[in-house]
């Protein structure tokens, strides 16, 4: 078993290396120079004569090491990364590591709770759609899923806010990260992400219904609920990968919901830093995002083999087939 773990670790490192290399080069290709953007912010009065301005820019660029060629910058960044230092933000001057650490819990809690909502909705409506497949309930759920999947996130978010914060006043609009403020963004994000899981759950269930062990369970005189449970257990397994994918998507994609509910997560922080080309922060964020995905893939393997004995016994080959 440990050789598999070792290989997985190596793969993870390779992915991380790929990611940091691409992001490092890519953001420098993007237009706009962070220092000029920071200094040149249209303030009160345009300074007359730009000589002082250019000196300051050059001075700051040297200070931040942005004037050295990319390769050197990359190596120094990697070197510092090895000691766990993600560098300091050009804009706030704060340690990127601590900034991300301060904001990551908010995004993870939001994504996790949204994921729970997604799974709950996915299972319930997926089950109903499969059991009533072809009937009215199935078509209704299909139309609702398609409608939800084609509705912009900000529509659902703003309507939820208008309803619960203004009309009924049960939700407080602020920028705190607190349990009292978690339920609405989590519910919104969950409802937005649910259609994907409903569709998969329905398809998997219908496939399992066609299998012989379901008829065999039926032939043992078991009632409908137990027979469905037999099929559901098998239908859940491929769902795990889907759930992992949507969780990875949440980490990146929750930006819109985070900004609407002013949820102090990493999504909003990343979006701001991307707009002002705060290189260290973008690099730190991308690193963490990729790390999360790699972690999730690892968890999927663990959960997979726990859920499906065939993989546990057949090892890697089994999982590949089930992917």
């Amino acid at each position: 078993m440990h050789t598999v773990l070792l290989r997985k670790l190596l793969e993870a490192l390779l992915t991380l290396f790929f990611a940091t290399l691409i992001i490092f080069a890519l953001i420098r290709l993007a237009p706009g120079d962070p220092v000029r953007l920071m200094l040149g912010h249209p303030g009160e009065i345009a300074a007359q004569g730009t000589s002082a301005y250019d000196e300051k820019v050059a001075e700051l660029r040297a200070e931040l090491g942005l004037d050295r060629n990319i390769a050197v910058q990359y190596v120094t960044w990697l070197g510092r990364l090895a000691q766990g230092d993600l560098g300091t933000s050009i804009f706030t001057g704060k340690q990127v590591g601590s900034e991300i650490a301060a904001r990551l819990p908010a995004t993870v809690t939001l994504s996790l709770s949204a994921l729970l909502v997604q799974i709950a909705l996915g299972l319930i409506f997926g089950m109903v759609a499969a059991l009533r497949s072809g009937k009215l309930a199935d078509q209704l759920i299909r139309v609702a899923c398609v409608a939800l999947a084609s509705t912009p996130a900000f529509v659902v978010g703003l309507v939820a806010l208008a309803l619960f914060a203004v009309k009924y006043g049960v939700y407080e609009i602020s920028s705190d990260f607190s349990a009292a403020r978690l339920w609405l963004p989590a519910l919104t994000l969950g409802v937005l992400g649910a259609p994907q899981l409903v569709r998969i759950m329905r398809a998997n269930l219908l496939t399992e219904f066609g299998k012989i062990y379901v008829s065999s369970a039926q032939s043992r005189g078991l009632d409908r609920k137990r027979v469905v449970r037999h099929a559901a257990r098998n239908a859940l397994i491929p769902l795990v990968t889907m759930v992992a994918l949507s969780f990875a998507g949440l980490i990146g994609g929750a930006v819109v919901i985070e900004s609407i509910f002013s949820w102090p997560g990493i999504g909003k922080y990343a979006l701001d830093s991307i707009l002002v080309k705060d290189y260290p922060v973008i690099q730190g964020y991308a690193l963490v995002a990729v790390l999360m995905v790699v972690l999730i893939h690892f968890l999927v393997d663990v959960v997979y083999s726990a859920l499906d004995p065939r993989i546990h016994h057949k090892g890697e080959a089994g999982r590949e087939e089930k992917a």
Binding site: T15, F18, L26, L29, A30, P31, S150, P152, V227, A248
Partner: protein
């Protein structure tokens, strides 16, 4: 409990095609059907609710939303379908290659690239492409395609891994088929249908991502009507004039529903043996 085998229900395919036909007629016939010029501004009739004169109301510049939705359809659907097909093609190719040479170095590298792209903040990609190549819809589609093929590749790879265990694959190999021939004749037909179904769902998300990126300057430049940017612009007046969104949103839902119904109907039609439903 009735066990629903993969029996054919033509209903979903027919309904899907009918809805798509109506949409196509409405959109392609936009120059004739649209009551007003989609671009002409009219300050007097700003933000009017849906009425006799303007069935879907008017936007902040007093432009008729129904006309803009019809004309916008051409740009949105054409471009997003184009982007989707490009992503589909790349996804299929990469997926098949990765699946075909499963376990080889190529497979590992492709999977690592897929992992990286999955985790990648799409925003950065879009920004870079806007910066390097400039704003506009074509460049947005470039950004979309460069990231969107990943989900298709993943799905194709898993279909190929399944297909490799089947007799038809072994038969082709024994009969002396080259890898390329096997891909074309055995793997592609099996992968097409599940990927097509996934594509129908991705269409909705794709159009919405055009809306999400318009503040970066990607997507159709004003005044061209386009569903995505109409949604984004409608956001500012969301509470004052929600009707701005209803036009484009309804058309997007109808389009995605149509493609989804067709996808489901096709799957039953195309692969009677198809067990893998996604």
């Amino acid at each position: 409990m009735k066990r629903r085998l993969n029996s054919k229900n033509p209903a979903s395919l027919i309904i899907g095609l009918v809805v798509l036909a109506i949409l196509a007629i409405a959109i392609l016939g936009a120059p004739l059907l649209a009551p007003y010029d989609p671009v002409a501004q009219n300050a007097a009739e700003r933000l009017e609710k849906p009425s006799e004169k303007h069935w879907l109301g008017t936007d902040r510049f007093g432009r008729d939303i129904l006309s803009r939705t019809l004309h916008g359809g051409q740009t949105t659907l054409l471009s997003s379908l184009l982007a989707l097909c490009a992503a589909l093609a790349i996804g299929l190719l990469v997926g098949m290659a990765a699946g075909m040479f499963h376990g080889s170095a190529l497979d590992h590298i492709l999977m690592r690239i897929i992992d990286v792209l999955l985790a990648f903040p799409f925003m950065v990609f879009a920004m870079v492409i806007a910066g390097l190549f400039g704003t506009g819809l074509v460049h947005l589609l470039l950004a979309v395609v460069s990231v969107w093929w990943v989900s298709f590749a993943r799905l194709t790879r898993s279909v190929v891994l399944h297909a490799k265990n089947e007799t038809s694959y072994a038969a082709a190999k024994v009969l002396g088929a080259s890898n390329l021939a096997i891909m074309r004749k055995e793997l592609l037909p099996k992968a097409i249908s599940p990927v097509l179904i996934l594509a129908t769902f991705e269409l909705g998300t794709l159009i919405l991502s055009i809306a999400a990126l318009s503040f970066l300057g990607l997507g159709a430049q004003p005044p061209a009507p386009e569903w995505g940017s109409m949604l984004a612009d409608g956001r500012a007046h969301f509470f004052q004039a929600p009707h701005i969104l209803i036009g484009p949103a309804a058309f997007i839902v109808a389009t995605v529903l149509a493609f989804n119904l067709i996808g489901e109907g096709l799957r039953d039609r195309l692969d009677p043996y198809e067990k893998l439903e996604l």
